[in-house]
């Protein structure tokens, strides 16, 4: 009722959207459709990682261990969004009101290297409700093998901290990272010392052996994996071969960009997928494949072909500028795909 009245007479989708600029005077980062969170602490752990503790507002629905959230920060006037797994347990949130994110900073990124600038402690940002189904099963189960690669350790930190005290079957964690880059070592060692059924093996990439090697002392194992694409593919194939249940959580993006070289990508629109290359505009290629896109001036002026890019990188053909990896508006007539892209028309 209120929403309909707002749409009819105040021309906004939600009343909150109409009130937003005023509310922001009193409550920083107050935004329709987002939750607010205050930065409790932001600190570099080492050269590559940041630890960010957030205090979500009280209406935020508590997460389950293993879930992620979208973090939105206003950076130089622009709202930028990235997805991060919550690296702390619901139990910790109930006790302290805080959630932890462990963030890998990419030197050339548009988001992570600027976080310390825009999120000075006690400033505000936006988060989404927790999402994702990469969860530790509640039902009684056999033993668990967790394989983490690099920053893929984050969901496991939440799961271990939450579930080790309830589980009594063996849980084994293989954590692959470069020497000296294993995160939360102290925490994991402490858990290993406290719980006899938990064992922890920090290893280097080269030391990673075939899956059967880790499975042989486990009874009725379930495999969880989160890490770089290559590791997950390997573990998935070997799990299938060993006939064990497998769950994974993909993340990360291709980072090699060379527009001179023709590459092929997939554009996802609703439930359909279209093959495109990186040489011509998305509009031309989607039109060619009879997708109902709207063509306007074809030169980036009129914004008729504009749509929301949900994820993936595109390149502006006029300036050569790369888009954000997260959600943003793009004009189909002047962009080329750089990675696989998902758009909403």
């Amino acid at each position: 009722m209120i929403d309909t009245m707002t749409q009819w007479f105040l021309h906004h989708q939600q009343l909150a959207g109409y009130l937003e600029p005023i509310m922001q005077r009193f409550k920083p980062a107050w935004r329709a459709g987002f939750y607010r969170a205050e930065v409790a602490c932001i600190e570099p752990i080492n050269e590559k990682y940041l630890e960010l503790w957030l205090a979500p507002e009280s209406t935020w629905p508590i997460h389950k261990a293993g879930q992620h959230l979208e973090l939105t920060v206003e950076m130089n006037g622009q709202l930028r969004t990235r997805v991060f797994t919550i690296a702390s347990s619901p139990e910790q949130y109930r006790a302290s009101g805080l959630v932890r994110l462990l963030i890998r900073t990419h030197e050339l990124g548009r988001f992570t290297p600027h976080l310390t600038t825009y999120l000075a402690s006690e400033s505000w940002c936006n988060i989404s409700a927790p999402q994702g189904t990469f969860l530790f099963p509640q039902r009684k189960m056999g033993s668990t093998l967790m394989i983490a690669g690099g920053s893929g350790i984050t969901p496991f930190l939440a799961m271990l901290s939450q579930h080790l005290s309830e589980a009594c079957n063996p849980v084994k964690l293989i954590y692959i990272a470069r020497t000296g880059e294993h995160l939360a070592e102290k925490e994991l060692n402490a858990l290993a010392a406290r719980f006899a059924h938990f064992s922890y093996f920090p290893i280097g990439r080269a030391e990673f052996k075939p899956l059967t090697h880790y499975l042989n002392d486990l009874d009725a194992p379930v495999v969880f994996c989160c890490g770089p694409q290559a590791v997950m593919e390997q573990v998935a194939t070997q799990s299938l071969a060993a006939n064990v249940t497998y769950f994974d959580e993909p993340f990360g993006l291709a980072t090699h960009i060379n527009m001179a070289e023709r590459t092929e990508h997939v554009v996802k629109v609703a439930h359909n997928q279209y093959a495109v290359d990186n040489q011509r505009s998305l509009l031309d290629q989607l039109e060619q494949q009879h997708v109902s896109v709207r063509r306007g001036c074809g030169m980036g002026i009129c914004h008729q072909c504009q749509c929301v890019k949900k994820q993936g990188l595109v390149r502006d053909m006029r300036t050569g500028a790369l888009s954000d990896a997260g959600e943003s508006l793009i004009q189909l007539c002047v962009v080329q795909a750089v990675t696989d892209v998902e758009i909403a028309l």
Binding site: H11, H12, G17, G77, G296, I301, H303, C307, T319, L329
Partner: protein, 350 residues
């Protein structure tokens, strides 16, 4: 201008655009949100004071002005510019050209399509840009003189007074949608039924809001609020119409033929935009109230540059125009407006 100069001319304008867009950031986001906040304050205080007029009539007069200002800010500086995509880079769902809707009879998305595409791509090309004279007025010799042009000054005054309805009717290309007139070179992307639905639905909501809902909420002050809303809408109509006419219909503004834009280069496109627009001089508040259409030339060169930057780029553009000997049509409001009135009168006659 020869081909070589056109290339250099385009390059200099491109450079101005690139260097300005590189600076766009927090200041511009803060600016547009500040304008939105003022719009809200004006609207709320305006609507309250209209009711207060029941007890103190002079408060009513202040209320009318505040409400008119709110509507002008919403339509001009916020609505027009946001729907051009000038603030899309902010990724803010409330200031996004895809979804923005404004406080005017014309449906935002219908306007967005016609205005951004037809008017901005084909500016002042007779037969392509329907905004030249709005199909009502004869403003150049490109159109055959008809008897109805004799009283087109009165038509113009009526259009100004009813401008929001004129825009709404015009942007939907009503003569095609309602009377079934066909135009060969146009490919309708939205069905006539959809256009009609939007026209009536948005129009009706606006009428209900200003002439039923708010007056009823005011109880005994029903008539005060109804009259105030009517007058505020009228003020907004006359203001927007006047400013828009100053942007394209001063005497020196030129028109073009369809053949002119076939395989047009970037330089030629810029050149046509330059000759088809005229500016207004004034103080900062004046620019804001015109939605920066006072910088019509800059707006036509760079339609999706944030309006917060037009005042800054105007002198740079003017300098480039001077260098290439391109006329930069600008002047104080009254001079430009007189020039518009002269043009309307001049072409009333054969």
């Amino acid at each position: 201008m020869n081909e070589q100069n056109l290339i250099a001319f385009a390059k200099e304008l491109d450079d101005i655009k690139a260097s300005t867009l590189a600076k766009v950031g927090q200041t511009d986001a803060d600016y547009i949100r500040r304008v939105v906040r003022r719009q809200r304050y004006f609207e709320w205080s305006g609507r309250i004071l209209l009711v207060a007029g029941f007890w103190m009539p002079w408060l009513w007069a202040v209320g009318v002005i505040l409400l008119a200002l709110a509507k002008i800010l919403d339509n001009m500086e916020i609505g027009h510019n946001v729907m051009h995509g000038q603030y899309d880079w902010m990724n803010d769902k409330q200031l996004n050209s895809k979804t923005y809707e404004w406080d005017i009879a014309c449906d935002g998305q219908s306007w967005n399509r016609v205005h951004n595409f037809e008017h901005h791509t084909y500016t002042n090309i007779i037969g392509k840009d329907r905004d030249f004279g709005y199909g009502l007025l004869r403003l150049s010799n490109d159109f055959r003189w008809r008897v109805k042009n004799l009283w087109q000054f009165v038509t113009y005054l009526l259009l100004s007074v009813l401008f929001q309805w004129g825009v709404s009717y015009h942007e939907l290309a009503a003569e095609r949608v309602f009377m079934g007139k066909k135009k060969a070179n146009r490919d309708g992307k939205v069905s006539h039924e959809e256009l009609k639905r939007r026209f009536f639905s948005k129009g009706a909501r606006q009428l209900v809001k200003d002439y039923v809902l708010f007056p009823l909420l005011a109880g005994p002050a029903f008539l005060w609020v109804l009259g105030g809303n009517l007058l505020a809408n009228l003020l907004r109509n006359v203001w927007t119409s006047t400013i828009i006419f100053c942007g394209h219909f001063t005497e020196a503004v030129q028109t073009f033929k369809e053949a002119d834009c076939v395989n047009e280069s970037q330089g030629q496109w810029y050149f046509r935009q330059a000759l088809g627009s005229s500016n207004l001089q004034g103080k900062h508040w004046f620019h804001v109230l015109t939605g920066h259409l006072s910088c019509q030339i800059e707006h036509h060169l760079f339609p999706d540059m944030p309006s917060s930057r037009y005042q800054e780029v105007a002198p740079q553009v003017q300098a480039v125009f001077a260098k290439y000997d391109v006329p930069y049509n600008t002047g104080p409001f009254w001079r430009q407006y007189t020039s518009v009135l002269k043009r309307i009168l001049r072409y009333s006659f054969p």
